[in-house]
């Protein structure tokens, strides 16, 4: 307490009581502002945790090498196999007409990798079935498989987007 205070206060004046309702409203508003500032301050944490945009699987050259399948393994009509490209699954096979075909093996139903079974492509998880054009013919899958362009280059198989740049 300072001496100033005591001497300045007349004895018979009531000290005004702050309006409780007004105080609660002010604190509520300030609380809302504080919450907004605190939330905004968490933005760097949000950016830290947010996954980076996935890099293009076909990279700068517009193509990705096929793993686990060699050209010899799809040399004859009817031969085919599951393999991989850029960390995803792929099915490469040679159909009855002698064309080399490739499909991203991710089933359009729930994401399991579809298995090459000769005339058809079968998903073991829920029985989804695709034909050799990738079209969904039976079971739960709602859409056909994603087709990829496939070609051979210097003894390796490569896949690329269906319509787009890429050597080969």
């Amino acid at each position: 307490m300072s001496a100033d205070d005591k001497s300045a206060r007349p004895a018979n004046v009531a000290v005004p009581v702050p309006d409780r309702r007004e105080r609660r409203r002010f604190l509520g508003a300030l609380g809302g502002l504080a919450a907004v500032w605190a939330g905004a301050s968490l933005y760097p944490v949000y950016r830290f945790l947010s996954p980076q945009p996935a890099p293009d699987p076909f990279g700068k050259e517009g193509r990705a090498v096929v793993e686990k399948i060699s050209p010899a393994e799809v040399a004859q009509n009817g031969m085919g196999k599951n393999g991989g490209y850029a960390g995803r699954g792929v099915i490469v096979f040679r159909n009855e007409s002698g064309e080399l075909k490739a499909f991203d093996s991710k089933c359009t139903h729930a994401g399991c990798n579809v298995q090459f079974q000769g005339a058809k492509l079968f998903c073991n998880c829920h029985g989804g079935t695709y034909d050799q054009t990738g079209k969904n013919i039976a079971g739960p899958p709602p859409r056909p498989l994603t087709e990829l362009r496939v070609f051979e280059d210097q003894g390796l198989l490569f896949v690329a987007r269906l319509a787009g740049p890429g050597k080969g």
Binding site: D4, R9, V15
Partner: protein
């Protein structure tokens, strides 16, 4: 080149300016905001049932305020004058010559506000209440006008706007694109600091009064809490595109050499700003539990916020001291008043040539460091050159100097191949074995052979 060279080991001359200035900013903004506080508080007191009790608090407020702002404000303000002259006489000279009447008016406002404040303080018991209110308002207006002026000069350095060395359009330079957003931002900061200082003084009176003053002072924080994001966004859009690039580069960390600290400083300013709002909420919620230490802690948090903001503003301009016109190390950007062919021998373009820095001498490289690099880099302290060149080979160093300006965060190197070799030799020598410039030139010649 800046001469004489002010060599400050470990900190560097720029950091000395920064330390003084950052302390000054808190005090000066508080000095203006406090004026608003006094004026509004005088008015508020007259509407209370016990005005004399509130005024007794104000008396305490203005006593602390007067001593704190005049003593430390004047000391650090003059400290800025001293240090900027020594750190960068070239830039200081340009600012003085361009804005001489602005500087003069600024001094008039200083004298004016102090005179009014003294009348307010010493006339406390003799002046009428109405006169006190008028004096408080007058003080605030004059003090805010001092911000109005200095803001033009300060923002001119980052965004000279339509001003060029040729047209010297001081109105365009003064009211540049960054002027108005910065003016609003600083005014909001001033009001906030006034509220925080009010908290500190409130903790020195009895609980009842303390509670009421804190409730009153808390309202001064609200304008900034509401409007700062708006004006910060406006300010962001007034910044040059190079600053935006610098800031985005800094998001992904310590790339090194790209001034990425600017991003961290901006987040320091923003997050501590939020902490001030939260702290004000706590204090307003439990005023009786607020101690002087807690209130001072909040004011210190505001200082940290201003540290972040001012460092951001300064880094945004690098490598220039006057953006687009004058580099921090004294090199004028073409077209300029003294066009310099960058690949001439360096000491032919400098205003003074140190006798002992003849090409080939050991001092040659050291003097190139002092005149071209020391404005921003210390040898082994702040922005240490020794640390940055630890892996240098003669070939790498020479190529680096030739492409110095490429990333946009460094000025171009001034000098011919001999100058480069001298500097490279000097920098490599910092890591242990002394290397002569002649050795470096020989190594470069050998590597150049196909």
């Amino acid at each position: 080149m800046n001469y004489p060279v002010w060599n400050v080991p470990i900190l560097g001359s720029g950091l000395v300016v920064a330390i003084i200035a950052i302390i000054h900013i808190l005090i000066s903004h508080l000095a203006v905001g406090g004026g608003a506080f006094l004026a509004v508080a005088e008015w508020w007191a007259s509407r209370q049932a016990d005005p004399e009790r509130i005024r007794a608090f104000l008396r305490k407020f203005v006593t602390y305020f007067l001593v704190y702002t005049t003593v430390f404000g004047a000391t650090t303000g003059v400290g800025i004058w001293f240090s900027i002259q020594l750190a960068n006489p070239e830039a200081t000279s340009l600012l003085i010559h361009q804005f001489v009447f602005a500087w003069a008016t600024e001094w008039v406002t200083f004298i004016g506000e102090l005179t009014v404040l003294y009348f307010y303080y010493y006339g406390w018991h003799t002046n009428s209440r109405r006169m006190q209110l008028v004096l408080a308002i007058l003080y605030f207006v004059i003090a805010w006008f001092s911000l109005f002026i200095i803001n033009g000069i300060l923002t001119f350095m980052l965004t000279p706007g339509g001003w060029t060395l040729e047209n010297r359009d001081i109105v365009a330079g003064f009211f540049n694109p960054g002027y108005w957003p910065a003016l609003f931002i600083r005014t909001l900061v001033m009001l906030t600091l006034a509220g925080l200082f009010g908290f500190v003084v409130a903790t020195r009176v009895d609980d009842d009064l303390k509670e009421r003053i804190i409730g009153f002072a808390a309202r001064f924080v609200v304008p900034a809490a509401l409007l700062m994001p708006l004006f910060a966004a406006w300010y962001w859009f007034s910044l040059p595109v190079e600053t935006h690039t610098m800031w985005h580069n800094g998001i992904v960390g310590v790339a090194g050499g790209r001034l990425e600290a600017i991003t961290r400083y901006s987040w320091l300013a923003a997050i501590t700003g939020g902490l001030i709002v939260i702290g004000t909420l706590i204090i307003a919620w439990k005023p009786r539990a607020t101690t002087t230490t807690a209130a001072i802690a909040l004011l210190a948090t505001a200082q940290l916020s201003m540290l972040g903001g001012e460092f951001f503003r300064e880094m945004a301009r690098k490598p220039f001291v006057i953006r687009g016109v004058l580099y921090s190390n004294g090199l004028w950007k073409a077209p300029s008043k003294a066009p310099v062919a960058l690949d001439q021998p360096y000491f032919e373009s400098t205003r003074w040539e140190p006798d002992h820095a003849t090409p080939g001498s050991a001092a040659h490289g050291e003097w190139i460091y002092r005149l071209q690099c020391a404005s921003c880099h210390t040898l082994d302290g702040y922005r240490s050159l020794a640390a940055r060149t630890a892996q240098w080979t003669p070939g790498f160093g020479d190529r680096f100097l030739q492409n110095l300006n490429q990333q946009g965060v460094m000025p171009p190197f001034q000098g011919n191949s001999q100058d480069r070799a001298a500097l490279v030799a000097y920098l490599i020598s910092l890591h242990g074995k002394p290397v002569a410039a002649a050795e470096v030139e020989a190594t470069l010649a050998k590597e150049a052979k196909p």
